[in-house]
Symmetry: D2
Subunit: 466 residues, 4 copies
């Protein structure tokens, strides 16, 4: 009788600390053994010459999240999570949004229902757009208890932004409840000021989106939220740190002893504001907020990853189609940037790009790659040690990589429901050929085999990073 | 026939650069000659053994400025400027306030009329409490043209605060018009959050005013306004920098190449939050905003003066009586700090305290004292070289100091219209015995002899610091 | 037939990344499996309620190393490594010293022979006291090839110091050969200057040792060696960073992109210069170089550990007896500090003190403890993944800790050959009850059972930290 | 009877603080009056439309200082000081060098005798090449008493360098005697290491001089001397700070509260290492130590001047002819850089280049120009207020500038005894047309009229900067 449901043999296993040769024995969806020549599995995978890494955790994804206006989110949970698995990601954290004037619990219920078709395990951040006292005191305690352990707030975007005063009350609630506050930090009035001036002067092409929200807009607000967190003694994560000056504010906060964590996203490491200036509306494919910055900012972000200032890298997957009635081009060739939907898709591309640009190019070592794609997010968002590592007792969420394989990223490879990727033509070294969720293959040799609905909701615990 | 109206003989003259023995020949209210054994004056003053310094410029004073509620400003321009001259100050810049919904020009007219009785020359900052577009585009150009060359904005205080969006429009107007923006920078919602929590918990004594607005509240906002100034490429002065962390934000801005100037006030150099904790309501005598900080902040501010990060020191003279129906104690012994009027008097004490704590104690040299009490303010606020130095052609605004004289500051010495001073009993070395405005004595051996109405309005030019 | 020679069951395993419940299956001295309910072992240890941690690596130890003058090293390899295992340490790196004018190869041969009686595995740094060209070009290549992968140089100490010019040639050789340079960095002439002045003035008690080598002496030299490493593009480790200013220099170097690693030692985290001022010669028990600093430096060092600036903590075990003809007191009660032998013993106390002060007091988490006591040293000194972690294929060097046990450190507990410990009476929470080297118990329930000679020489590879 | 020997009328006078219109009345070589319409002078100069500035103080000049080897110093005191006055400089501080094994007093006597033919006032730094105890205790007290108030030490250059230990003793002597230590700071062994490697590899052209002493060599040593000054609590000036990293070390020292002053030189503001790479031996015209750096360093130095980190700018005038038997080319076209004499001439070009690049281009204002060319050096080297400013009682050392005049610098204009200038063809705006020393014209409309021997020795007092 086989000892394990599955054994992955002869691979090189990596954690955020170590790299070692070991077979992995899996049963009941968990890693039950790491060893040499372990007993037989009902099924076996030969990973000779391959890396076996923790499946990725993408802690910042907008999947099947409704969008304002005529545009639509291109992905369902079924399509989005298929794409995630193609890139080696096995857990996503999405967003449940409160409607203005509405209930957070209702928002959670609605979004959670959408995730029924997820192919991989998932959790939610709760977007508080209207943190009325009764929401904070009556709804949130139960929701946190149910494992919705993080709040997302916006300090810009007309439909979602809350005031500094509201943000303070959200932070205070997070402190009481042991939840983590994640923040989209840009100075709203400054963006409005710039936008008004640019539009008045006729600067309305996609690239002017980057002019309307330059680094100073973000750096100001990153500092502000760090100070608010300092004032209330509450941990926060600053989302999508896009360049050097913002990262410096994070680092200064950390050096004051604050629990402030920084996240960046794939696009800030490989695209720049110049991409927004491609001919016609091509630039719109790179339009997101914060805006991509300069080459020097990419280097600075890698350095901040190396220094540990920025602890995880996500996709901020926010898919709008490019063409069609709900796409980025729906407003016409001359649409001003103020009408163009924000956000880029990136679930599948995240880990291959980070592996290639990071590990293959020698910027980071393999344990650091594991840390920034999986382990740190697991720790910060209350999923560790069940998720984010390869250890006895952890879920067998794994990605089996060919570290040498050279791949050109294309739309067809990505397997999401979109019609484009900003990374079209990007060449990478290293590719996750097989992906498993709780021991069950969801991608086999690049083919999606995971079933919609296989994914489970993840109630999350408190953050456990010191 | 005498060459000069007045000759000051045998004194030691100091400027922001030099210290030298010279007679000063004055005619027509101006310094016409500096020399050895210059020709006779119609009148002569023997300054043997004395320092002859530029009269002080106190660029941040609330004199005869109406206050909200039942409290009243203790000083008229006649009383306030008498007190100023006692302490060697010969120029004040006060404030003209726009009423919410009202006209800035009307505010200027009203406040300017009050200053008719000033004994010394004066200018005004314009407090913009409601910067509607028509104010910025229709009223301000003419007012700036008339020499009202600086705007004051508040980012806190319910009656005066404007939003960040409004502040940006004020900054943009200042840039167009060549005016300087001065800012009271504290994070309003954070103060509200703390205040609410403190009041709810019964922490309402004067010292809790300091708890409601700790350093983080100011440091956040100082950074924010520096970033706003950076975004719009406009110079600013940050008012009343109260301690180390705020000064660090100023310094960081300067190191990014910004024209951001820092001001501190006498009280932040010699009082601390502990003074607010004196028995009964005694602490209210030290209550101002920002709140006094810690001993270490005092040392840090001196260091920042030494490094040039903070360029001038003012009184922020804001006099409310202690007793009486309009005084700080009018709300009863148990009045919560939220009801207590903000602000401390300090026109007379400023220069003697700075001389004593700075020069006599060896923290700064005499040229630096001249710079931070007179020359730098003159340059920044468009009064140089007419004011702020001793040079040929400059107004003969002078203070003749006995550098050795030891004086204990008392209410009676101060000669303002108030009933207390926070510096009661403070001992200083060095005292300005004689003060002259445009060559005319306004204090002689400590006796006020300047006449109400002698002071003239100073139309100011643009700042001239590189 | 049992699957394993030994199984450690039901413990909580920790690595530098993860903490998880697992049994450990050991055979042939290696970890062959980590799992739940793994097959039987010929022998089993029940670790219920215990932590199973990687055995410590103490990469800076002076064991059985001859001392100049009448004093003697108290420990033999047999006694020193016994003490190491008592504290959970399973690998030591000692020093092989070149005699001035002599051969490095001869020094290595001599010291290696002494280590024959080691109870645990060991390696050597080579102390180059006379780096003549022929040493660098003829001897070192072969020695590095044999696994002596690191050079130690002193920039102070009359008998050992080399010049900056010599240090540069050592660094250049290290770069060619792929070896790491470890440096004792203090400004020699400054120590001489201070010492001469102190002795002339009669300040000769043990505490004046700290006066003769204050922080500035070390901070200068740390910066200097970082710049030399920068100039030659060669990685270095700075030994025994004793406080804030030196650590800041390390951090600045790291931020310039240099591969400069910082080490600190137990004593700098728990003793201060005041300990040197204990009555009589008691202070001599704390006398080492660099000298212990202030309380604030201890806090700064913990912060630098938290920030990753300082990556490993060693004992700098340098044992001289206190009494007897070869002890610290051999020169009489009035012996000037210049005659007192430097160095403190600390092999056993290192890990328990770090566990207690770090993990139990909440300054660091358990993975960080593993990193700074074992994993990072293994990576830096070419022992990873064979040593320094718990992973499949790694040597089964393990310490089984009772995390709750409260222990008062005493001489008898330490089990070295010395007559005192500077940590006498120090109370710790957490203690390693059982220690194994390559699967063989060397301490069982606090009793040393490892055999002299069981330890093996560790040929080391190049450093593998990015 | 005229009131004054000389009156300079209708000019615009500038000090380090102020700019104002005034006539200057001069008698007995001193400024006796500054005023409007002052009494007549025996002679009058019309300065309408001109600036009247303090004559420059060049506190770092090698004039008629013997050189090692076959090369010779191109200038005598007569020729060098003529050139100085052409550029508006009225005071020089040269060097008196102790011979190795010889007496400092003898060196002073010898160098002082050479200066008999100086056309302008002068002082000396004493170069201590052999600070034996008897020199420090027996010779220096008297020499300092005579007004030789500063010591110069070299930490590199084979013929002049002293050890760190010797430097410490010099610093200690300076502290006792109230003298200032000026330091040439480069890491000697590192230069040797690089040089040896470069020469071995055949990199021996003039540009490789810059490769042999890159910024790291200087930055290391600047930090080292700052730490030594910190350790001994003694003020120092770091000579010729050549770029950003060294200036940062100065700034860090200042921020630790140290009295460390930084000097830079004209050439570091306008030449770069690329100039050393000009064809043939042309590059040798720019060869000096430290070596010129990059464009970015020039910008950084201006910023450090603006921040006050670097307080004065000198020429480090060190003239070797280019051609002829004693010139830089005397060793042949293929001479390795190791044989080429160091140093560039620059007495005349200093102030015009600083005025043009600084004031005319808007990098600094006029008072700052005065400060960095005259006032700060006067204060630091004990010449203030006699020299370095325009004030009553000060020596009438003046330069009358046409601020608009455009001049192309050429050899003939410079009027020194050299055969080239590194600034040949450099275009400047602003030129000092008339120069006066103690009220006596030494340059009139560009023509040298000062007499050899007119200059006087300046006994100097202690530094008086706080
Ligand atoms: Zn966002
Ligand atoms: Zn997002
Ligand atoms: Zn204010
Ligand atoms: Zn005010
Ligand atoms: Zn050492
Ligand atoms: Zn050691
Ligand atoms: Zn030099
Ligand atoms: Zn020189």
């Amino acid at each position: 009788m086989p000892d394990f449901d599955l054994v992955i043999r002869h691979g090189t296993v990596a954690t955020a600390s170590d790299v070692f040769a070991a077979d992995i024995g899996i049963a009941g969806g968990q890693v039950l053994a790491l060893g040499r020549n372990i007993g037989p599995g009902a099924r076996e995978i030969d990973a000779t010459g391959k890396l076996v890494l923790p499946g990725g955790i993408d802690s910042h994804t907008h999947i099947e999240e409704p969008r304002p206006g005529p545009t639509a989110n291109a992905d369902s949970f079924a399509s989005g999570t298929a794409s995630a698995t193609v890139g080696g990601t096995t857990t996503v954290i999405g967003f449940a949004r409160q409607a203005r004037g509405g209930s957070m619990a209702a928002g959670v219920a609605e979004h959670r229902a959408r995730a029924e078709q997820s192919r991989i395990d998932y959790g939610f951040h709760m977007i508080l757009t209207d943190p009325r006292p009764e929401i904070l005191t009556e709804e949130l305690p139960a929701l946190v208890e149910q494992g919705y352990r993080s709040f997302k707030i916006f300090l810009t975007y007309s439909g979602a932004r809350i005031t500094d005063g509201e943000a303070l009350r959200v932070m205070a609630a997070a402190r009481r409840l042991g939840a983590l506050v994640c923040i989209h930090a840009e100075h709203h009035e400054l963006i409005e000021f710039y936008t008004e001036a640019l539009v008045a002067a006729g600067y309305t092409r996609p690239v002017h989106h980057a002019w309307a929200k330059p680094m100073v807009v973000e750096a100001e607000c990153v500092h502000r939220v760090c100070r608010m967190a300092e004032a209330l003694d509450v941990p926060i994560q600053v989302f999508h740190v896009s360049g050097e000056e913002s990262a410096e504010e994070i680092e200064r906060a950390q050096r004051r002893g604050l629990k402030v964590w920084g996240e960046t996203c794939t696009q800030y490491l490989v695209t720049t504001a110049e991409d927004l200036d491609r001919p016609g509306l091509e630039g719109a494919k790179f339009l997101c907020s914060p805006a991509p910055r300069a080459k020097a900012d990419q280097a600075a972000l890698w350095e901040m990853i190396r220094r540990g200032v920025i602890g995880n890298v996500t996709s901020d997957h926010a898919p709008t189609r490019f063409g069609g009635p709900n796409g980025k081009t729906a407003f016409g060739e001359d649409a001003p940037f103020t009408k163009l939907p924000n956000g880029v898709p990136g679930l599948a591309a995240r880990m291959p790009i980070l592996f290639s640009e990071g590990v293959a190019k020698g910027r980071i070592d393999l344990p650091t790659f594991v840390a920034i794609t999986a382990t740190n997010a697991a720790k910060l968002f209350g999923l560790h040690p069940k998720k984010g590592t390869i250890a006895v007792g952890a879920d067998a969420d794994l990605a089996i990589w060919d570290p040498e394989r050279r791949v050109t990223i294309t739309r067809s490879l990505i397997q999401d429901a979109n019609d484009h990727t900003p990374y079209e033509g990007f060449e990478v070294t290293g590719w996750p050929e097989t992906t498993l969720v709780r021991g069950t293959p969801v991608v086999e040799n690049g083919r999606v085999v995971g079933a919609p609905g296989f994914g489970q909701f993840l109630p999350r615990g408190p953050y456990d990073l010191i």
